[in-house]
Subunit: 344 residues, 2 copies
DNA sequence: GTGCTAAATGATATCGATAACAGTTTAAAA
DNA sequence: TTTTAAACTGTTATCGATATCATTTAGCAC
């Protein structure tokens, strides 16, 4: 029963059902005026032939592909995965489909990806972050469909924005450390040249430290993102070697925070009394670890949902009402044992 | 400079460059016979107009969309993410693009997704696992393009297979437990009705236990997949309440293994002397935790790479040489401290 | 300069659907 | 029964590219 022949077309279905192709086209969509009788007849014919609609042709003809292009830095990141889940969840209710690509934290790769995606004629495009190559930015500006930047609040947005202030989020953590009485506070982050979000968190850290009049030299810069558990551990090791009097460390992600905490554990340091640790991202890990890790919840899932809804609104608005709009998310601090000094 | 007008077409580029559309089409592809002079002229015209190729139209005309459809159960899973990375890495070298969808461990959702994907006329389709609805299986059999099932070794494969025996992998762990002298061994897994891979691991566990003549009643079934850290912790708690004499526990994933280990830590149990723990999947987490967790490495990244290469081979083979072929991966046991009893 | 092959370009006919409009039937209202 | 609007179905013209074949031009040996 192998199907070595060509796939059947709408025409084939039409012939078998004894109607015109146009009627078949209508019958296969909801909310079209086709009598129940012919619709049933057509469905039967389609089933019989094993007909599958060709959305390539449909897209060309209707100028609507049903694609929403989405680029994220990495798939191997629970936060971005959460955002995607939220996004997919909203899109699933529609006839839209996400077209997903990873940039690997590389703007050149992002450019490549965006170009490839625009060829697919998506109905909207969502990119992560504000860092783009010039050419990429130009393509996005001229692509003629809604653009959403998420996860940052760009200083020069291209279209709509769904994000939060990474610097502000970092401030939350430093405030908390300060309130808990920590003064010698370190920072563990990635190479500032590449990870713009990490860079903003670093800036927020530094600004807030200065605000409190605290020393800001306890900085460890790891490799390129993503910052792994392993790198977190290595950073903590270095921190302890270089500045043994460090009381607390803010890590740019929960993964590195966990790695750092494990390193402390290996060295026999008690968390938080010997060393307090703060993370970023509200991963499951930070909640389940012993002790649980204080972290910053950026509502990754929410970002995805909002981004999707923003897109849906813009597509419905039809008219080019693309008022530039910033949808700001408020990060929240989740205080856990890793930063709550215990009385002896 | 807003581009409110329609996007330019190949025809526009042709006119501006003073050539025929066909020449433009050729000029924009590598390895086509177009003189360097006209090619340059055309590229200039294209740049000037901000022309972006329409792959929808190209796909319709050439009958090659450049899509490889891929379904995975969950994006929020480091193993599947690794597989995708491997896959993307190979595809990036080609002109093919992954079209990705999540089934949420739900065969009905898979069916929906596969149908949606087939409409896009992908050049091949990769699905995760062997469990499909009847209709889905039929669609895959008749879709006329290469099909690859990955992550399992199905008893009735549809096309090619890139996977491993989950039962065999589980056996590795039980063997190891046995060799280490553990006899009262428990199992923590998900609801067997849904997670077929987890089910196979369970089967492998049970078979091997029976082989050694060990009791097999220490089984905890958690909710639907994915099995989280939290559920791992809850399972361990239940295990300790129900069968306090349990010496070792095999968990269906590293996440639940970690959760279980944290629960032990909270209860003051020492790993591995009071309780040995084995995981599955070789996540970073199991390597970085203290103690590190013995786990099974299934080469998730490799699965993706091989699957991609299998696809590339089949596409090149052109002819319907689709000999059914099983590409079996050998899982390996990574022995870590969580199962290595320390002498007192 | 002739002849011949290979490279470069163009003309035409699709690919498989849908938009837009036209025509026909049906059913409700008068 | 007639009128009239609504529901249904069909016709025709694209959507934007590429395959294929035809034609022209260029390159090269003799």
């Amino acid at each position: 029963m192998a199907n070595h022949t060509k796939q059947p077309t709408m025409m084939d279905v039409a012939h078998l059902a004894g109607v015109s192709p146009m009627t078949v086209s209508r019958a296969l969509k909801p909310n079209t005026s086709v009598s129940e009788a012919t619709r049933k007849k057509i469905r039967k014919a389609a089933d019989e032939l094993g007909y599958v609609l060709d959305s390539t042709a449909a897209g060309l003809s209707s100028r609507r592909t049903g694609f929403i292009a989405v680029t994220i830095p990495s798939i191997n990141n629970a936060n971005f995965a959460d955002t995607l889940s939220g996004l997919s969840q909203v899109l699933r209710e529609t006839s839209l489909q996400a077209l997903l690509g990873y940039t690997d934290y590389d703007v050149a790769e992002e450019e490549r990806l965006v170009e490839q995606f625009l060829r697919r004629r998506p109905e909207a495009i969502i990119v992560t972050g504000e860092a783009h190559t010039d050419r990429c930015r130009k393509m996005l500006e001229n692509c003629g469909v809604p653009v959403v930047e998420m996860w940052d609040i760009p200083s020069a947005p291209i279209g709509q924005v769904v994000g939060f202030s990474n610097a502000g989020a970092a401030k939350l953590m430093v405030d908390h450390f300060y309130q808990q009485g920590f003064r010698k506070i370190g920072f563990v982050g990635g190479d500032p040249s590449r990870d713009t979000r990490g860079q903003d968190r670093r800036r927020g850290f530094l600004d807030t430290m200065k605000y409190y009049g605290l020393e800001t030299h306890r900085m460890i810069n790891q490799e390129l993102p993503p910052i792994t558990m392993h790198e977190g551990a290595a950073s903590m090791k270095k921190m302890l070697e270089t500045w043994p009097d460090t009381q607390a460390v803010m890590c740019v992600s929960d993964l590195s925070a966990f790695g750092a905490m494990m390193e402390c554990q290996r060295q026999g340091l008690k968390i938080p009394n010997d060393m307090a640790i703060g993370g970023f991202g509200a991963y499951d890990l930070s909640e389940q670890s012993v002790p649980p890790i204080t972290t910053i919840d950026v509502s990754a899932n929410e970002i995805g949902k909002i981004a999707a809804n923003v897109i849906l609104d813009m597509l419905n608005a039809d008219v080019q009402t693309s008022v530039q709009q910033i949808n700001a998310i408020e990060p929240t601090l989740l205080i856990r044992d890793s930063t709550m000094m215990k009385p002896k």
